[in-house]
Symmetry: C2
Subunit: 282 residues, 2 copies
């Protein structure tokens, strides 16, 4: 497994990449790899000749009051994980490598970035889209693999790729969950057991919403009421949003039809949790 830390070396690697060795698959990560990342890497491994994992805690996507400094970093474990999963190349840049002193360019997606997470984290998605554009231009992958856990991020990046005419396919991979349904996330590392127990109500609320739709409910307000009821059973939970949205536009729905995404974000004692479930209505 090769480890590259500079953009120059990555560029040289990219230019020398032999197309006969198959397509390039990219799994962009911020490290602190868990089972969800492993699933992405395995999907890439099954479908691409060359698998690249980028590990970069991107300062641009953290707000000033957010957890950039304490975001979990565990490089030796991450590299061991990549080796186990047979990754070909790990791109491991420093912040000053991707953002030298005179860096001044921003890539921003409009409407899709402004809702939901965008309302609570105003500069988050433009940090994501800026670094993703850089990574895609450096690695030039044929495919990139993203987790459903960050569903809005997937929608924003898909729009970015379409709008900027980037030549690759984005694959969405299912959220990996613990046995009780709790979605895996790097941030879970600094969540206490009590917080985790309480936050589990988010998944339970989304699952109850999904069940209501499966049972025939087509009014978004009724599904949302049901979800809020499940969440309210927990104590000390603050709901940022918990809505039924169109899975493509992320607009909130009144009447449910087509592919619906149940999107939720809550706060438990200062920690934010997001999760979602996709429901296809026939």
């Amino acid at each position: 497994m090769r480890i590259i830390r500079t953009t120059q070396a990555l560029r040289t690697w990219q230019r020398r990449h032999d197309p006969l060795r198959g397509s390039i698959g990219l799994v962009p990560t911020m490290g602190a790899l868990h089972g969800g990342h492993r699933a992405l890497i395995r999907h890439a491994r099954r479908t691409c000749g060359t698998v690249v994992v980028s590990i970069f805690v991107n300062p641009l996507q953290f707000g000033p009051a957010e957890d950039y400094r304490r975001y979990p970093r565990d490089l030796s474990r991450d590299l061991a994980c990549c080796r186990e999963e047979n990754v070909d190349l790990v791109f491991l840049p420093k912040a000053e490598t991707l953002y030298p002193h005179d860096f001044q360019t921003t890539v921003a997606v409009g409407a899709l970035s402004q809702r939901w997470e965008g309302e609570h984290r105003p500069t988050h998605f433009q940090g994501v889209t800026t670094v993703v554009t850089k990574l895609l231009n450096l690695v030039r992958p044929d495919r990139a693999f993203l987790g459903q856990k960050d569903y809005q991020q997937y929608c924003v990046i898909r729009q970015l790729v379409k709008d900027l005419d980037l030549d690759l396919r984005i694959t969405l991979c299912p959220t990996v969950r613990d046995a009780d349904g709790f979605a895996l996330s790097s941030r879970n590392r600094y969540v206490t057991n009590t917080q985790r127990q309480r936050a589990l109500a988010l998944y339970q609320a989304l699952a109850a919403g999904k069940q209501a739709i499966a049972g025939g409910t087509r009014r978004a307000d009724l599904v949302e009421k049901k979800m809020v009821k499940v969440l309210d059973a927990g104590h000390g939970l603050a709901i940022d949003y918990l809505r039924c949205c169109d899975a493509r536009s992320l607009e909130p729905l009144t009447r449910l039809r087509g592919t619906v995404v149940l999107l939720g974000a809550i706060r438990v004692g200062g920690v934010r949790f997001i999760d979602n479930l996709i429901v296809r209505i026939r």
Copy 2:
């Protein structure tokens, strides 16, 4: 010469391009081709195996009060010019091809875009950088050729390419001028002879500034005073700016050293003219 109008067809062409046929050179234009464009195409022809010219009057880079609708369009003459210059491919998209109804992504360069032209045309450069990113991603050229006439645009695009890790080389080609020094521009087509005569004072002012530096002046204020004096000899001229700047950062200088660019923009009866001269100080 091939003409392609859709992004899909361009993508297919790009994917099938045989690297053994040499590098791809792109000359991005808004049509209404003149001697300046011909010089860019010839430079591309000399140095690249495949020459692509894009012709697209980009609505995003015009302000609401600007001349998008009346910008000169002359397709048959443009195509004849490309044929004469032995262009391989003309990319000729419609506005709705590059900006479909759900288009919502913006690429913006910071400090370099905000000065000079940016102050007078606040959304201009983000329109330029957004379309240029799209064109570069579609054509994937090895080199792109830009004219010195739009020197700030060149600086902004060079920064964009660096910041977003685009893999190409940008070549700046000298401004092409009429015998009296007047810089060629597509917009000259709707300038009256009287306006042209008056606007020529901009070039004369810049030339006087360059001469002052050649004569040993190293104080920017003295050079600028000299340039303003030459311009003031004309009547009905409004100066937007006329300054000595660092050729890389475009910051205004106090003491002249290194590579200096004399940047000017004036208005003559409602029409804006920009021009510049580069001076290397030993």
